[in-house]
């Protein structure tokens, strides 16, 4: 189906079902219950799940397939974001030009940076990309303020030209839309105490993410993808096989950058503001964390990793002591205080600490990330089945 092998098609369908039903299963707890805090099914976070999913999928095409660790990938996300907002300001509030142009702009930007950075490999490549991204960030936040809005960020305004749109009658800035469907519109469905929100922007981003995921599968399974994996495995042999690795790397870098730009374009389509810190090296570090947490070189891993980190950032960071006391109020007073004191450093404003610990644990014990965890778990279940013949090659999942 869709030119995919059965296994990949199944994976795509599964991810499609996940995206479609996310508003429901991300809100597993009824409204008003103590655990409702852990619900993640609201538009902003769901949008972030899929958008950062795209970002991570793209990063994984570079890092997962070729092993080149770019520490400056956020620059492409930022470049795409700026391009997207400018489209929303100049052309039309319709998100299509914003998404398309941001992808292209990021692609061109990646072509330039990639052309230079790919002259080196290993840690030197990482430092080069890091240097370019830091330069982009520093300039965007200061001297380029007229283009980037500086530290405040670039946003839409009432007096933007928007030459393709009809004159704006209302005194409000229009919200980004897709042919009249506003990205921030939602429909809600209540079943008993459960409440599910179906948001336009989320589904637009979700469909784009599925398309991006589909393309990623095709790339992974294509001769091009095989060459990229060969680069990671043994660049020397590939050279002596008559293949020029440089154009392969550059094409891969540009594709990966375009994914980042696409994510940036979607981000500003959901929320029309592009901030300079989107380009900072810590933001690049974040997508590395996502990819590693989920599972480098696997198809689904980066999406899972992106979801996990965004969940932490948005849900864990909002748990405060008040809530903790509510949850543990069933315990005797002294014990309650004790438990809260123990947990306190790890939640709320301490979520970075939890993230750092979790990240270290994954690198140390689970180099394959969440996907490896899943594989180990399923192996545990399948123990009764006869073991497979050793050395069987498991293609990247």
């Amino acid at each position: 189906m869709f030119g995919l092998e059965k296994r990949d098609a199944n994976l795509l369908i599964a991810v499609g079902a996940l995206v479609l039903l996310a508003p429901i299963f991300l809100n597993p707890f009824p409204e008003g219950s103590a655990l409702a805090q852990f619900n993640a099914g609201y538009p902003d976070l769901m949008q972030r799940f899929v958008i950062f999913g795209i970002f991570a999928i793209g990063f994984n095409i570079l890092f997962g397939l070729t092993g080149y660790l770019s520490f400056g990938h956020a620059a492409f996300l930022g470049a795409g974001s700026y391009a997207g907002v400018w489209m929303l300001k100049l052309l039309t509030i319709n998100v299509i030009p914003a998404i398309v142009i941001s992808t292209l702009v990021a692609g061109v930007f990646a072509l330039i940076i990639g052309f230079i950075s790919l002259r080196r490999s290993g840690i030197y490549f990482s430092i080069l990309t890091l240097a370019f991204a830091q330069m982009s960030f520093a300039l965007a936040a200061s001297v380029l303020t007229p283009i980037t809005g500086g530290e405040t960020g670039l946003q839409t305004a009432l007096d933007d030209p928007r030459i393709l749109d009809a004159a704006n009658e209302s005194r409000n800035i229009p919200a980004p839309s897709l042919f009249g469907l506003h990205m921030n519109d939602s429909a809600q469905l209540a079943v008993g105490d459960w409440l599910w929100t179906f948001n336009v922007g989320y589904y637009v981003a979700g469909i784009v993410m599925l398309a991006a995921f589909y393309v990623a599968i095709r790339i992974f399974r294509s001769p091009f993808g095989m060459m990229l994996r060969a680069i990671k495995s043994n660049q020397q042999r590939l050279n002596y096989t008559g293949l020029n690795t440089r154009p392969y790397m550059l094409a891969c870098f540009v594709i990966s950058g375009m994914y980042a730009g696409l994510a940036g374009g979607l981000m500003v389509s959901m929320d029309p503001l592009a901030g300079a810190e989107r380009m900072q090296w810590t933001a690049s570090g974040e997508v590395v964390l996502m990819t590693i947490l989920g599972g480098v070189g696997t198809l689904i891993g980066p999406v899972l990793g992106a979801g996990l980190i965004k969940y932490f950032e948005n849900i864990f960071s909002k748990i405060n002591d008040n809530l903790l006391h509510q949850w543990f109020s069933f315990l005797p007073q002294g014990l309650e205080d004790f438990v809260v004191t123990i947990i306190h450093p790890f939640i709320g404003k301490g979520w970075h600490l939890t993230l750092g610990l979790m990240f270290m644990a994954v690198i140390i014990f689970l180099p394959g990330g969440l996907v490896e965890l899943g594989q180990r778990a399923s192996k545990l279940f399948k123990k009764r089945n006869p073991p497979q013949t050793g050395g069987q090659k498991e293609p990247a999942e």
Partner: protein, 343 residues
């Protein structure tokens, strides 16, 4: 002219901090082959050794002063350091005043211990793993370390002044025969530079003139051969890691009077110190020192008003530009050995 001398001094000063951090970084890379992203965090922990010691020294008990009122109109609570009680206000005050220099003694064992624990507990298991894994796990460690510091010390900067005797500045220009009043430079910054040079000298002497250092240098050149000679190179490398941690830590201790420390000062230095290592040449100790000083001077000159007016934003990107140019034209860095991590 005096502006040029001033900026050279600034550059040397800034550069000596870069050099100290980069020295440890490249020492670890050269001996253990590990890319340590947590090295900036060690610098930061060193700075907080100074904060901790100054807190310990000024541990106080509260005395109510009935003559004064606090903001709620109650008698003012005055904190009296125990040091004052024990040694009298004069000596006690002096001890607290000298907290930063005293922290050097405190930081050396603490930092070596932290370094050894880090190496034995974590880094050791990553020798055989790819550089990417090393970068990532130490990056995670850096996050954890700085969050722990933030938890205990808060996010705000903590003023940790130099002893009274070193506060202020003097006429450096007059000292070298220029018109007086033209080149005024702070005592502590000069001291920092001298301290850094001394520390660098000690590390070099240690590596150059002791058998321990000889083995380590040999190990840096060819680990396997040295290992085959039956020398337990691993233990020596552990100690080297401790020393690298101590160097970073001392750089941090002495830096506190220059800029009040906070939990993310390590991250601020991390990226730059990597650039320094790469520019100097991976694994090259003199390269790290040279590149640190050169980049410090370069950065200082790029911050001069006339330069910024000519090239806006150059002060923000000059270090990265230098790194890009060096990497593209001379990938082994200024003084790197041929073939070490070269493409």
């Amino acid at each position: 002219m005096d502006q040029i001398i001033l900026q050279i001094l600034n550059g040397l000063d800034k550069g000596s901090a870069y050099a100290l951090i980069a020295l440890g970084l490249t020492l670890i890379f050269g001996t253990l082959g590990v890319v340590n992203f947590a090295h900036g965090a060690l610098f930061m922990i060193g700075a907080f050794c100074a904060v901790t010691l100054s807190r310990i020294l000024s541990l106080s008990h509260v005395v109510l002063d009935e003559t004064k009122k606090d903001f709620l109109g109650k008698p003012l609570k005055v904190e009296v350091p125990y040091a004052n009680d024990w040694f009298g206000p004069e000596l006690g005050g002096a001890i607290i005043d000298w907290a930063v220099p005293l922290s050097i003694l405190f930081a050396i064992p603490v930092m070596i211990l932290i370094g050894v624990i880090m190496e034995r507990g974590l880094i050791k298991h990553f020798y055989k793993r790819p550089h990417a894994d090393q970068i990532l796990v130490t990056f995670g460690l850096a996050i954890v370390l700085q969050e722990i510091i933030k938890y205990y010390f808060g996010a705000n900067q903590i003023p940790t002044p130099a002893p009274e005797a070193f506060v202020g500045s003097f006429d450096f220009g007059a000292l070298i025969g220029l018109d007086s009043g033209k080149v005024i430079y702070p005592y502590w910054r000069i001291l920092y530079f001298c301290f850094a040079m001394l520390l660098i000298g000690l590390v070099f002497a240690f590596l150059q003139f002791t058998t321990f250092g000889m083995v380590v240098r040999a190990g840096m050149a060819d680990r396997e051969t040295v290992g085959m000679l039956g020398i337990n190179i691993d233990r020596r490398f552990t100690i080297m890691f401790g020393i690298a941690a101590a160097v970073a830590g001392l750089a941090g201790v002495m830096y506190t009077p220059i800029n009040p420390p906070n939990y993310h000062m390590g991250m601020d230095f991390l990226v730059i110190s990597f650039v320094v290592v790469v520019v100097g040449g991976m694994g090259s100790l003199p390269g790290a020192v040279l590149a640190g000083l050169l980049l410090g001077i370069l950065e200082s000159f790029a911050s001069v008003r006339e330069v910024i007016e000519f090239l806006p934003g150059i002060n923000q990107v000059v270090i990265y530009l230098a790194a890009i140019v060096i990497l593209l034209t001379r990938p082994r860095g200024l003084m790197g050995r041929k073939g070490v991590m070269e493409d």
